[in-house]
């Protein structure tokens, strides 16, 4: 904001500032009422026992009992937390690679591109809300898919490749992880609709002249992928990474989250539920902050 000679903010500037505040006022009010207050309250609940009475509820301070219960008494919570976290890291990495790759292909020009793009963004609809949770435990569809793969006598390229690599004895654990990812590529494709769009938007901001310059300097297509495309979209990787992690921690088929809502809605144990939700949230945020710090140091900004 500019200040005039007397060191005061000028009238017009002041009025503009107030207009800005006015435009943002719904958010400010909403944020205070429905975000800060509930967040503070549920943070308090983490250390309290909530007693719901007629017309009111009371908080009785109990210290770390809830956290203790969540981590050391509850049989499932720490396991869910650990498993969910391992899954999140592996899948998020896979989604990043997949969305980059698909966006590169979809950015090329070919016949029927509009149709293919439309199909790839269909998961934005298919993987939202309740549908995703129901999708995973539909055994009839699973049966049909098993039937189809049976009719090919169990010969699939991944199985053959896996056998070859296993007998060759190359670093088995890492390969197993890769093969589970390939087997679950449907899940990855479903989860990466938005990421592909974001990545495409990043690819389209790269000026064509850069590739021309690179090819005149003698870059092959492969080299210009790593020397031009990759640095130019590296900031998009950061956006995608944050979005993927956040999206993953909020999914409806997430074990931790369904555990939290079970405890809240069925057992009516609000204290324990908020203790679990908060510890999950804090761990996720810490991981997100750390990883995006590492990524952001390697991001290249072109101005």
């Amino acid at each position: 904001m500019k200040k005039n000679l007397n060191g005061k903010v000028s009238g017009l500037e002041k009025r503009r500032a107030w207009t800005g505040v006015l435009f943002c006022s719904p958010f400010i009010i909403g944020f205070i009422l429905f975000m800060i207050k509930p967040m503070f309250q549920s943070f308090m609940m983490t250390f309290c026992e909530v007693q719901v009475g007629a017309g009111k509820f009371d908080l009785v301070f109990t210290g770390l009992t809830n956290l203790n219960k969540a981590f050391r008494v509850d049989p499932d919570f720490s396991r869910f937390l650990l498993e969910g976290f391992a899954r999140m890291i592996v899948y998020s990495l896979a989604i990043m690679v997949f969305s980059f790759f698909v966006a590169l292909v979809l950015n090329q020009e070919f016949h029927g591109r509009a149709l293919v793009r439309a199909i790839f963004f269909l998961p934005v609809i298919l993987s939202s809300g309740v549908i995703l949770g129901l999708e995973t435990n539909n055994s009839v569809i699973a049966m049909i898919q098993a039937d189809i793969s049976d009719s090919m006598q169990g010969v699939s390229i991944t199985v053959v490749l896996e056998d070859i690599l296993k007998t060759a004895g190359v670093g088995v654990r890492a390969y197993e992880q890769v093969f589970t990812l390939i087997d679950n590529i449907y899940d990855i494709a479903l989860a990466s609709g938005i990421q592909i769009i974001v990545m495409l938007s990043g690819l389209q901001t790269i000026p064509k002249s850069m590739y021309e310059a690179a090819s005149i300097e003698g870059c092959t297509a492969w080299e210009s992928l790593w020397k031009v495309t990759f640095p130019m979209v590296s900031s998009i990787f950061l956006v995608n990474w944050v979005y993927t992690i956040v999206d993953f921690s909020m999914r409806t088929d997430n074990d931790v989250m369904s555990k939290v809502s079970d405890i809240m809605v069925q057992n009516l144990n609000y204290g324990l539920a908020s203790a679990m939700a908060w510890s999950y949230f804090v761990i996720t945020i810490a991981f997100l902050a750390l990883s995006s710090f590492i990524i952001s140091r390697r991001v290249y900004y072109y101005e």
Binding site: I119, V124, I125, M264
Partner: protein
């Protein structure tokens, strides 16, 4: 076209460039191009098929009778074609009522959320005021905080709803807003609905790219603040607003978390779909008068039919809007 060959078969391109002779070079280039297209076609065909296949399977299952489900010969094409599954699941889900409710709620919520988010995004993008960056930080925080963290408290907040103790002063009791639709509208009006932080972020990003001269010219020509916003800025932002509206509509349509938390008693397609298997059991028990358990295969068949019926309106909407939707998002140039 310059980055056409970026992904596939880079080695061939390298070899092709090494050849000095023009005709050979051209032929090689043509062949590489053909090879790339074929590879690309196979790859994309496989991936697209993988994404669509579950829908196709669901369609074929939804037309099968129960005996077809157990028949090992029948895989994709039903032997006894029937539409009974559709009538049954429509009845169980009370589809007409749920559809109407969902339509009304999703439409109004989406319009409300997008209009409020537009105001906030515009304010954040075009105006300077103290603590603006802090406010934007709050938007980012909102994207990151999962709704489950605050849901415990919100649950109680609306169970014993009160505005600064005023209502208690008058009536002597706090109001129970659980089960009514009001809390969710209030949250949406305060930008706290499902994924609203994302819409604010996208809209802000868009408005930031509009040149300042446009706004100044409008001021010089005598437009006020509001008039500039409505006449100059809004028409430009149409693509991004459409995308946000579609997101808001689709996500609200299929949302389970907020719906079960705030709209529990209203019949919605999303909540009735998530209960469809239990409702099927109850329905059959009521019809036959005896306690039976529904077979897994049949309940899953009904589940697939129900899922199809719910995503059908979305797919129709998507078919009409996808071009503008995808292109506008792809061209908005999202940056951190």
């Amino acid at each position: 076209m310059s980055n056409t060959a970026v992904m596939s078969a880079p080695a061939e391109t390298g070899r092709a460039q090494a050849k000095p002779k023009m005709s050979v070079y051209k032929r090689r280039k043509l062949m590489t191009q053909a090879a790339i297209s074929i590879c690309r076609f196979i790859l994309l065909f496989g991936l697209c098929f993988m994404i669509i296949q579950p829908i196709l399977n669901k369609i074929s299952v939804s037309f099968m009778t129960e005996e077809d489900l157990y028949d090992p010969v029948v895989v994709n094409i039903p032997a006894h074609f029937t539409t009974e599954n559709y009538t049954l699941s429509a009845e169980i889900m009370s589809y007409k009522e749920a559809f109407k409710n969902s339509m009304i709620i999703s439409l109004t919520i989406a319009i409300l959320q997008v209009s409020v988010c537009t105001l906030v995004g515009y304010g954040l993008a075009r105006y300077d005021f103290p603590l603006k960056n802090l406010l934007f930080g709050c938007v980012l925080l909102m994207i990151v905080v999962p709704p489950q963290v605050i849901s415990t408290s919100l649950y109680l907040h609306f169970r014993f709803f009160d505005i600064f103790g005023l209502i208690k002063l008058i009536t002597g009791n706090a109001i129970n807003l659980r089960g009514s639709v009001l809390p969710y509208y209030m949250m949406s009006a305060g930008c706290m609905g499902l994924k609203n932080g994302l819409y604010i972020y996208l809209i802000r990003q868009f408005f930031r790219n509009i040149p300042k001269e446009l706004e100044e010219a409008a001021y010089v020509d005598g437009c006020g603040t509001l008039k500039t916003f409505i006449i100059i800025m809004l028409p430009d932002a149409k693509p991004i607003l459409t995308s946000c509206f579609l997101f808001a509509f689709v996500w609200q349509w299929t949302d389970g978390l907020y719906s079960s938390m705030f709209l529990g008693t209203t019949k919605l397609v999303s909540t009735s779909l998530s209960r469809i298997v239990d409702s099927l059991g109850a329905f059959i028990m009521r019809e036959l008068g005896i306690q039976t358990s529904v077979s897994v295969a049949y309940s899953n068949c009904i589940l697939s039919t129900g899922t199809l019926m719910i995503i059908l309106p979305l797919i129709i909407l998507y078919l009409f809007a996808q071009r503008g939707f995808v292109e506008s998002l792809a061209q908005s140039g999202i940056k951190m």
